[in-house]
Symmetry: C2
Subunit: 451 residues, 2 copies
């Protein structure tokens, strides 16, 4: 029986990871009558004079054929972003275009497989040094130092466009043999799956599972060694508290609302920072909402309902001690939410936040970051000091053991919800005093800019 | 067994159609302990000072409860559009927000039923005259003459937001008794369905069927009596052809591309108009693409592929004689495309056109409109005159019999694809000469504006 599935294999990756070699290998293994190769480097006049997507449409496989794309819409978008031509919102909208196209094609029956050949930085540097950049590759202008940039943008692209219609697969290409075997196994599995699914008329799954995330570890790059001297701390605290007091009253009189939310590891110092922040603001115009387990009434609604409840009216300030991000952090890790639920939450959260911002509300999102060692120290202190004892529970220790799962969740959260209109502010919090001042300073500066 | 479905019933409609009465009726029939009523007229300070959607979120039903909304996000959007505050793109983006919210809620398990109580214009005018506007309704500022506007915006809203997750039901409310019975039957069916579906864990359907469209008949409003005198025709034709010739050469030298597409009833005069248009343009820079049955190669690709093929390079002009709109016209009516396929085509077409326009291409979409009588006259002429005989086939007669189905399809197409960036130009074509001059004039003016 002929199923006539068109298959698109997109091959992206780090230069030197062997994209060309993989394509050559696939050409060797597969029947060339049903296989087409397309590279998008060195575009002709014909191509440059048409809308960008024209070149891809013209290269799409017919039913029953397989097309290998060396690069494509992602490499184009990433290169533009690195070149500074389309960063931020423009990069996000290029990714949204890619998802739209893939949805269109998948709905029409196309099997889309997206490969990212990954090399750790040290291997990359070694390989580039040894072989030089391939003269046939489209990456002539990607220098050593661009590795980080490349990973940053591909990381975002992969996380935002990994859909059930068109999965990304990250392939560690440090070993050539292992890389080839992984690619082949993966293609065989995907093709078999597609054939089974089509023949049995099974529908596409509709959830959006996240597979094999690229090791981003956004938070690993935070410098936690920053500190502040006691005298400076007292002065700065007083300075920003006074400034902020005046500014919040001005915002009140102008009817400009503010939402501040705090997330961070257990014992990162959220409570202390919130106390210093809130004591700077007249208590008549601010409200602190601690987010714990939901009430019965809250459980009976959509999870965003409990946060909508406390959205401030004009001029007021709501401080959320933990927030809607619980959906993609604790609820994900503890499996309180199904994978379909937390997967769609990123988009729901982005929609929610964009409505807030569009209505004129100032939204500030803090992540308080501490090192595992610092956390351990604080936990032990809490157990030893009687007056801090109430702050530590067996749950805290259990959560600590789940740090790897939390790290994945935090990574996804940062990448998928750091939008241009509502970016995260990451606060290094190993030094509590430093963190408190940074929080005050950030709120002050953002509010000042808004007024 | 308790299924605990939250149910949201949105009641919109023409003033005087009995929205209040339906709500009172439902309150009488249902257990008031599980029922909540919400109107959104006369909002408090509290409400006005928060993002618009706050008021709706606060009114959403808990699991197991039913909420009746008298108006809501649609009536808000329509009123803003009528008041001139949010027309065009803003209105479309308000509708997109509504869909996002409904998707979120439906994914969370909410049953959403949207009712539009419809009154034909004559009944509306009679009822308003007799009773005056209800002092409790939120429509104090809707005058008689606003009926057309109301229908226009609700028509668009209903067509763009009728999803499988949240259907619209149009209820003819000319007879009170009939209206009440329809509403009750509809609610019973929907609730029964929801209970069955949830208990059997059946997934939501993913296609977007269009139900009970509001009688819009966009094309009925076109004045087909317009004509042009022979002398004027000859003069104007020559004038615009010469002007256009110069302009297209200028566009060529500037690298600005143009896409012109023609749709319309059989025998509406597309061919004649295209000949007059194309003869104004240097044949080296324009191409005419007649769209008939797809070739084997075209069939083997996504349906948009055959149109992407001929997208002009910089400075060139492509004229499509029939176009991608075949997907939602002939393919829909003749059932060449499944309902899932043509339903998703509107969005695919809008995406495609927005990519064209974003890349700098000028896109002009013509609909040539003739009356059924004029069509009949032309068909008969074609059968009688030997040299026109080749133009008429049994298919034409068959299509003519399907006019009602085509009318629905055209209505949907006009409403769903008349976007701000790519509006339709409707040409009254009962007088062929008039139509030809109008086409030339439109292309000339749009191109002039673009240069």
């Amino acid at each position: 029986m002929k199923t006539q599935i068109p298959v698109l294999i997109l091959i992206d990756g780090v230069p030197g990871a062997g994209r060309g070699k993989v394509i050559n290998l696939l050409n060797e293994w597969m029947d060339s009558r049903h296989l087409e190769n397309h590279t998008f480097w060195n575009p002709s006049d014909e191509t440059m004079e048409r809308p960008e997507y024209w070149r891809y449409w013209m290269a799409l496989p017919e039913r029953g054929k397989i097309a290998l794309f060396f690069g494509g819409w992602y490499s184009q978008a990433v290169q533009k972003a690195i070149g500074g031509k389309a960063k931020g919102m423009k990069f996000e909208s290029a990714l949204a275009d890619a998802v739209k196209l893939e949805q269109m094609l998948a709905a029409d029956g196309m099997l889309i497989i997206k490969l990212f050949l990954y090399l750790p930085k040290d291997k990359y540097l070694k390989r580039i040094k040894k072989t030089g950049v391939d003269p046939l590759s489209c990456d002539e202008d990607i220098s050593e130092s661009d590795y980080d940039n490349l990973l940053k943008y591909y990381g975002k692209a992969i996380r935002m466009t990994d859909t059930s219609m068109a999965h990304w697969y990250i392939i560690n290409s440090a070993s050539e043999k292992q890389r080839n075997i992984t690619v082949l196994e993966l293609l065989i599995n995907n093709l078999n799956n597609a054939l089974n699914t089509r023949n049995n008329n099974v529908e596409h799954a509709s959830s959006l599972p996240i597979t094999n995330p690229l090791p981003m570890h956004v938070l690993d790059k935070v410098d936690l060694s920053v500190t502040i001297k006691p005298k400076e701390y007292t002065d700065m605290l007083k300075y920003y508290q006074e400034k902020l007091n005046g500014l919040t009253l001005k915002a009140f009189s102008k009817g400009i609302s503010t939402v501040v939310l705090f997330e961070g590891w257990d014992a990162a110092g959220k409570g202390g920072s919130i106390r210093r922040l809130s004591s700077a603001i007249d208590s008549r115009i601010r409200k602190i909402i601690p987010i714990g387990a939901p009430t019965d009434e809250e459980k009976a609604h959509h999870y965003l309902w409990r946060f909508w409840r406390y959205i401030p009216r004009a001029g007021y300030i709501t401080i959320y001690d933990r927030s809607w991000y619980g959906r993609v952090l604790v609820e994900r890790v503890e499996k309180f939410a199904t994978s379909a639920e937390w997967s769609r939450a990123y988009e729901e959260i982005n929609t929610f936040e964009s409505q807030l911002v569009a209505s004129g509300t100032l939204l500030i999102k803090f992540w308080l970051q501490i090192s595992p060692d610092e956390q351990l120290k604080r936990f032990q202190e809490r157990e030893e000091l009687k007056w801090k004892n109430y702050k530590i529970t067996p749950d805290d220790w259990r959560n600590r053991e789940k740090a790897p799962a939390y790290n994945d969740a935090i990574d996804d959260m940062m990448v998928r919800t750091s939008t241009d209109i509502a970016p995260w502010t990451i606060i290094p919090a190993n030094d509590k005093h430093y963190a408190r001042v940074e929080v005050l300073k950030t709120v002050y500066e953002k509010l000042k800019k808004r007024l």
